[in-house]
Each structure stands twice: as C-alpha cells, then as structure tokens.
Subunit: 336 residues, 2 copies
DNA sequence: TTGAAAGCGCTAACAT
DNA sequence: ATGTTAGCGCTTTCAA
C-alpha cells in the first residue's frame, strides 16, 4: 500500500537512483526525465521515507528538548521560540516534559539517543550521577538553555548572568529607599540558577550594609503556589518587608495574590519584583515589574549553537551570557 | 565510533540474532548467554538504533502533535497531558506549533508523514483545501483534540459539546437575573467551536426572550489582547452589559484587565465568565468563574484513542463528547 | 546522464 | 537454543 521510491521509478520508467536524484535536487538529470519523475511522484502521492534516509545518512534532523514543565509560562514561551527557530532550520523537535522527575529525564535521554536525535537541548539543571554519567558518554551535542550544567558536564549553555541580575535588581531596590527586602528564591541545593540569584541578593545586601533578615527569606520551586505560601509566611512575621523580590514571575504572582487575598495592596503596602519577564507580568494587576530575560534570544541562540555544533562548524562556544534588564511596571514603588 | 549490534555480538561471542533476541526480551536464549550479551551491552554503552528498528518494523512510536499556539495556557496544559499519556504508553511526541499559519500546518503534516509517525493529534481546526486533501489521502490515524474536523474529513474527535456548554452558561447567567449579557466569541468563519459557542449563546438568549444587542458582541482569536480590545469597545457604548461571557479564559482575563484599567470593578460593575477553566482562572483576582473543559481527560483520551487505532484495536470511535460544568469562583455575581 | 549494487542497523523468517 | 540470510527504503559510490 505505502508507495516507495521503487514504485515511483517504475511508473516513471527510470531507475531508483534517478528518482533519488530528483528527490534531492541532484544535478545530472535531463529536464524531461526530471519532469516525468515529478509527475510520477505527484500521481502516486509519494512522500519519501525519512526514516530510511536517516538510516543511511546518519542524520535525523531531530532535536530532543527536555523541559522541566512546559505548562509553565517561562518554559512554554521558551519552547515555542525553540520550536520556531528549529523549524526555520528544518529541524523537528521531540519534547520530553519531566516535571522534576529525574528518572523520567534519564529515560528521555536514553530514548532520544536511541532515536538518534542529532542533538539535545536541556532546560533543566537538576542532576544526579546516572544523568551526569550518561551525558559524559554522549557523543552528540547538547546545549543547556537557561540552565547551567554542573562542572563535570562539558556542554555549552545560554544564559543570563543570574547573580549579576539579582544583584542589580536588589541594588535598584536599595536605590529606591528600600531596606527591608524580602526574597523568594529557587532551589539552592542542586540548581545553580537558584544559588546564583540568592548569592546576588546577599551580595547586594552586604554592599548596602543591610543585615539579612531570615524572616523574609524563603525558597520554593518557581511555581505560583510556592510564591503564595512563602509570602503568607512573611505576612505572619512581626514586621513586614517593604518589598519582596521573587526569582520567578510565577512566584511573584503567587505572592501578589497572597497579599491581595490578605487585604493588603501592591505596591502601596508591599512592593513586588519578579524574574523572567514572561507573559504573566502583563496578565495581572498591578502589572509586574520584573527582571527581563531575553527569552526569545535565549531560545533561538540555543538552537543556533546546537545546529552549528551538529553541522560541524563548531564555534567552540562554552557559555553565552545574554543581557538582562529590569522592566519597570506597576508593582514597585519608590520610598523616597 | 558508534557501536552497533554487530559489535555487541562479537564481544559476546554470539550472532547478531542472539543479541537482537535479548534486546527484545525474546525467548530461547540460555540464561548464561543472555547474561554475557547484557554484559557486552553494558561494556560498550550500547544503545539500539531505533531508526533501523523502525525501518524494518514499520513502526516509529512517534505521535505528531499540531497545536495552534503552545505558549497559550489552554494548549500548553493540554499538550503536557498529551505528552504524559503518550510517554506512559512508550510513545514520543513531535510537536508542531503553527501559530495559525496554515502553510506551516501543511508543511508539518507533510514532514510528520515523511517521518513515518504512527499517528497525529491535531489541536486546531482551521482548514483549507490542500490540508483537507492531504488528510483524506493519509493512511495513518488522526484524532482531533478539542477541535472538530470539517465534514469532509473523517477523523474521530475528543471534545465537549460546545454549543450546549455555551447554552448552559448563558442560561445560568439568566437565572442569576442577568439580561444584558455581552459575548466575546471566537472566530466563527472557519472554526466550528467558535460557531457552536456562539450558537449556544444565541439560543439561550432566544429561549429567555432576550433580544440580542450587537453592541455587546465581538469576536477575536482567543487571546488576551483580543479580549482586552473587545471589552474596551463594549465600554465605549452608551449602556454597559451586566455580565460578559468570553469563550476563552485568556480573553476573559483580557476583558478583566480592560475593566480594571478603566476603574470599574469585577463583579460589582460587570460580571465576567470565561471558558476552558485553564490555570489562568486562579492566577487573577478576582478568580475567574469559568466553563470547565476536562483538559486532562481530553488530552489523555485523544492519545488513548489514537493509540488504539494505531495498534489496530480500532474501537470505531467517531466522536467523544465529554462533560462540561461551570466552575464558580469570584467574577460572577447574582443580580437577584 | 543514467543504472547497478552495496550497505545503513536492525528484525524476522527459516535453518540447523 | 542459536545462526544465516533476506530485506525495510533509501543514498551513494562506481561503472557504464
């Protein structure tokens, strides 16, 4: 039933090599022969079998993407830019959504390897030994997107400078007269972005000679609910912070909702600053001031670097650091 | 460099068929031989090439998914459930994000076919002739997820009853004393869900003997910005509706923001009802009352039906209609 | 400018 | 219980 190159060859009265040539726009095909073959392809609704092609060419044009949670605003945006850039370059993406499940991640890595993907993009940085080991035996290129691999894994990454970004943000808060600055952070054990953003916060505080107040520091998993719960715990303290910096927009929105649900106002009672500058910043009121990551550029560059590596024009990139900036909206007020 | 089944066979001192047998957990392998082969596989870090396997088995375990916009709250949730259910059944998903671009859709359909996907899920229902034609010549199963194919395309679909859902919602508004009921709809030209939801709205109005007021009716593309703009146009009318029903949560949130930005209150001045009951309903304040689609079930059943068709246990399903219900939160008030 | 033939890595009869 | 062999549908030398 399924028609193959041989059927086309027969109908056009040529050999399969000739069909292959017109399929691949090869030279050395007489115009009339080419036309006849094209006609046969059309007549038969023939579509070449790229599995067979991949087998001989050892190239699938497949990119495996591993994301921690595609239903999240930051990841779904990034993924959509990755998809677009890949498709523009005639690559297809296979997605693995691991929801923080490292077994699932290892399994996906394995499956992607079996599927002979030409390369992988990892948007997740929790690691364990088996994953590290797997990655180090891998011969295809991998790039980390908005995540940094642990030192033992030698893969390029596309990122902003997380520590500097957090530092700059907190410094800005200080310049606005804030001294009671709460922090809702990400996981600092296994996640380098979590560590770096926290380090930036601490350093900015130290530079401004502000003592850190553990009452206003909490850590979560970047989700809205985490932000909500942590903010609630802040609200239970004796004294309130004048501003809270959350290292994801989702957590900042969670904090916002907690504040509003407790009949306080943003930014009149408490100011709020998020991180990522994802779409959600403009879906809430007040609109969220947020540290901007160039999401589109991050997604696109990850793909571009990966493709360059795949196609052998390895640029020897180790790490790409992109610009960040604070985008001011309505959730932050000056105390001056 | 890449190690294959032959290398394993040599190292284990057996034939490639034996290796193949242990790879596929075949019977008729002596325990000690099996162990030796497993050892060789481990020693060599061998991973079977599923491209080659697919070529002979004529089965890729790949599902192609076409979505209109994965950065949207409804689609990214649905996609994440699809991914989970597929992965649970050892299928991988290839995603094509078409952003309403029908050329891109046709191209993806073609590429998916070349890649020999075992089946496709389409979460989009705009059609044109070439796509219809392509779909009708396709011999692999396709299921429409939260979308209905046009009559000429004979594929199963998983849906709620959109017309009934809209009807029930509007009837409920009437029962709460509302008679000035605005409507923010989806595209009604090529999109059947758009048509059905609008039809449900009109019928409920007719049943309640309420005249339709075109001042309060607008159509958009299901996005937040559309909802915002349409709501703004309603606000410019002489009289305001007491409630507005938007056929996507994103549009409802857009409407909410427009209202808030214009210093009116929800639900005191205008009530709001959304559609989908996606995550965004709980990220805004007031929380959005919304017509619930069973997103998880829709995603999972789409995959299950598709896999059944792929694996030949065709259940002869034409259409699956799932239950809807209105989830009441804080954006709708009673006038009674 | 075209065709014949080898082979990509694997599975699945068929032999043994 | 194991090995031999013929493909799967294509690309790609190489020869004509």
């Amino acid at each position: 039933m399924p028609v193959n190159i041989k059927d086309v060859a027969e109908r056009a009265g040529v050999s399969i090599s000739t069909v292959s040539r017109v399929l691949n726009n090869g030279k050395y095909v007489k115009p009339e022969v080419r036309a006849a073959v094209k006609q046969a392809i059309e007549d038969l609704d023939f579509v070449p079998n790229s599995i067979a092609r991949s087998l001989v060419r050892k190239k699938t044009n497949l990119i495996g993407v591993i994301a921690s949670d595609i239903s999240t605003s930051f990841f779904s945006s990034t993924l959509s830019y990755i998809e677009e850039e890949a498709s523009r370059n005639r690559y297809n993406i296979l997605v693995g959504n691991i929801k923080e499940n490292l077994d699932k991640e290892l399994n996906y890595l394995q499956v992607f390897k079996e599927m002979q993907v030409d390369g992988m993009i990892i948007m997740h940085e929790m690691m364990n030994k088996p994953i590290e080991r797997f990655l180090s035996t891998l011969t295809i290129p991998v790039v980390f997107c908005s995540a940094k691999p642990s030192a033992s894994v030698n893969c390029p990454s596309v990122n902003i400078n997380d520590k500097q970004a957090a530092y700059d943000t907190v410094k800005h808060l200080v310049s606005l007269g804030h001294r009671n600055i709460g922090f809702i952070g990400g996981d600092t054990r296994e996640i380098s972005t979590g560590q770096h953003r926290y380090a930036g916060y601490l350093e900015a505080l130290a530079d401004a000679e502000i003592a850190v107040n553990p009452d206003w520091i909490g850590f979560g998993n970047l989700k809205m609910q985490d932000g909500y719960d942590i903010m609630c715990s802040f609200l239970a303290r004796e004294q309130l912070p004048s501003v809270v910096f959350a290292v994801s927009d989702d957590m900042a929105v969670g904090a916002l909702n907690c504040i509003v649900d407790n009949k306080l106002r943003v930014p009149e009672d408490i100011s709020l600053v998020g991180f990522d500058d994802s779409g959600i910043t403009e879906t809430v009121r007040p609109k969220l001031t947020s540290l901007h990551q160039p999401i589109q550029q991050i997604g696109e560059m990850s793909v571009d670097i990966l493709i360059k590596m795949i196609e052998g024009n390895a640029p020897g990139v180790k790490e790409i650091v992109l610009h960040h900036k604070l985008v001011e909206r309505d959730s932050l007020r000056s105390l001056l």
